[in-house]
Symmetry: C2
DNA sequence: ATTTTAGTTGAACATTTGTTCAGTTATGGG
DNA sequence: CCCATAACTGAACAAATGTTCAACTAAAAT
């Protein structure tokens, strides 16, 4: 058998370059990056990476990273299952949080949560909610709403008597808008960062 | 004064191309994209976008998108403040959730939460935790730990008697590892997606 | 109406791009 | 040890890349 190369190391180097420069290296840049002396060696490597689904290449030869390469975090199983062995880990799906959480980037916004009105739904003060504008809310969805002049986060509920906004906090009561109701958007996700 | 162009529309088109092709268009591709007939017009536009901080360009002319261009969601203020006017919105910071949540991509993993042992900390079953491996836990941090063979999510607490793992649920008691304790990683963030 | 000037055109330029070819090297398996 | 073959070298190629120049346009301001 002929010699075999360590692909994973090179993929890791590519990820580094990609996250630093925000683009894929050119063939000549890969020369330096991988220590090759011929662009043909690079061509062979790129061919392999295309076949493995790390790189896309159009008819003109323009390279673009796939999610598999540009993705940021490895999606493992459940907490109960713990961490898999390094060998199994290679098979883990690579994910981009942006793609996972945001379907319509042009109409999605981030807002910081202040109150504790949704705390029983796991939305705490300081959390960040992903709000999508311009979608009609359905019953049970969490919305950012302006009720009688004030913006809040509540469950949206429409019944025979009209719209009712429910908090997820036993200390608060539901609200029925008296004067005005504006639905800013619906909450598509929540993120929280720990120090 | 001479004529002025609508930059925002073009930036939006660039964002579209970028998220579809995972790379910036070349000058010739921008010809079609923007309806120009001279690459010099493109050069002028690119120059402007570089000056405004949307595009980076190295000495060889390679273009790379900045976070301002590649970012996905607009970061507004607090929920209480509601949604700003479209004019103010232009000034909003654009953010990538990947960059916001993940500091060390190579050692960060996603795990799905099963139990309700951390529910009072706002971590519900079905949520996804971002776990960073290879960092020593500090008191009060949430960790993924294997205690006597079983993986769980708990607060990490080290006192004179040794390590104690506290749940965020009044129905459960803290744990002191009898046989073995493995810290898989510390929880850096939580994400939740609504349907 | 005139001036001003950013925006645009069209064409040409030197480089750099990914590709290709024939030949060489290195390495694991028989 | 020797063989088979993937990996690599070195060099050359056409095509595509970003850049540059002088000339022209068009719209806002006076």
């Amino acid at each position: 058998m002929p010699r075999t190369i360590n692909l994973n190391a090179k993929i890791q180097q590519l990820r580094f370059f990609l996250h630093r420069e925000r683009r894929l290296p050119t063939y000549r840049e890969m020369l330096d990056l991988f220590g090759y002396r011929s662009t043909n060696a690079v061509a062979g490597l790129v061919h392999k990476l295309v076949a493995l689904g790390y790189i896309l290449q159009d008819n003109e030869g323009h390279m673009a990273p796939t999610r598999k390469l540009a993705g940021v975090v490895k999606l493992l199983g459940a907490v109960q299952a713990g961490f898999p062995s390094p060998a199994e880990e290679e098979l883990a799906d690579v994910l981009s949080l942006d793609e996972y959480l945001i379907r319509r980037p042009e109409s999605t916004y981030l807002l910081t949560v202040n109150g504790d009105s949704m705390i029983e739904a796991g939305i705490h003060p300081g959390d960040i909610v992903l709000v999508e504008k311009g979608v009609a809310p359905r019953n049970g969805q969490i919305v950012v709403a302006q009720v009688d002049g004030e913006w809040t986060l509540k469950y949206y509920m429409k019944d025979r008597a009209g719209v009712r906004l429910d908090p997820a906090n036993r200390n608060y009561r539901f609200i029925r808008p008296r004067q005005s109701l504006t639905i800013g958007g619906i909450v598509r996700g929540v993120i929280r960062r720990y120090e």
